[in-house]
């Protein structure tokens, strides 16, 4: 049984709190990996904020399917995915993935797998605010390649 938490929210998250929720009272977890995605401000001309839009309902479902797939691939005790939406300024958190397992390999692989899929498959869109106006962020070809490496052949 993998304990699963998925939330899409405007509010920031607290890694320490989420880690405690995942691990407290258990002594079977040997490894916790966390990934925090943070809004950067320094790509060429500085951006003043990101605006994150999502497809409510589908986003939760899509993340849920990928968490289920991760739990089927690796022996996980717990997974937490929190994705923020709304206006996010440079230096602020965007996304958190937490994975807990007995050993580090499963926790690392599952966190990378989930991040690669969130980048390419979860229905979220980023619009940048810059001093010149706003524009929609384009997909990095690199992200598609990263997600493709998990596809079973």
């Amino acid at each position: 049984m993998t304990s699963v938490t998925i939330r899409i929210q405007e509010a920031d998250f607290d890694i320490a709190r989420e880690t405690a929720l995942l691990t407290q009272g258990r002594t079977d977890i040997g490894a916790v990996v966390s990934f925090s995605g943070i809004c950067r401000g320094s790509d060429g001309e500085g951006i003043s904020a990101l605006n994150l839009e999502h497809y409510s309902g589908m986003a939760e479902a899509e993340i849920g399917r990928h968490v289920e797939e991760a739990a089927a691939r690796w022996p996980l005790f717990g997974v937490t995915v929190i994705h923020r939406v709304g206006r996010i300024e440079p230096g602020q958190n965007i996304v958190l993935v937490l994975t807990a397992s007995a050993h580090r390999e499963a926790a690392f692989h599952a966190a990378e797998f989930l991040m690669d899929y969130l980048k390419t498959s979860a229905p979220f869109w980023k619009r940048e605010e810059t001093s010149e106006g706003t524009n929609w962020v384009e997909t990095r070809a690199h992200d598609d390649a990263a997600a493709a490496r998990w596809t079973r052949s």
Partner: protein, 83 residues
Amino acid sequence: MKVKYFAWVRERIGKAEETIEPPDSVRTVDDLIGWLTSQGEGYAYAFEKPKVIRAAIDQAHVKQDAVISGAREIAFFPPMTGG
């Protein structure tokens, strides 16, 4: 049938969702994109590069040859940039 639009598809069309009744000849997502393209300038702009557009039927990703009959909700959006 409910249709939803996101990100710049939404901006170009000028609405987030609507209810449509395409003719019976519109069988696939592909057909629906073609039909929507004929519904006005905003639609034509949103779908000007149809290969770029992603689609979901009832909140699951589908390819453009997917059949739409029975769908409650179809969504169109650009490639995702979450995470």
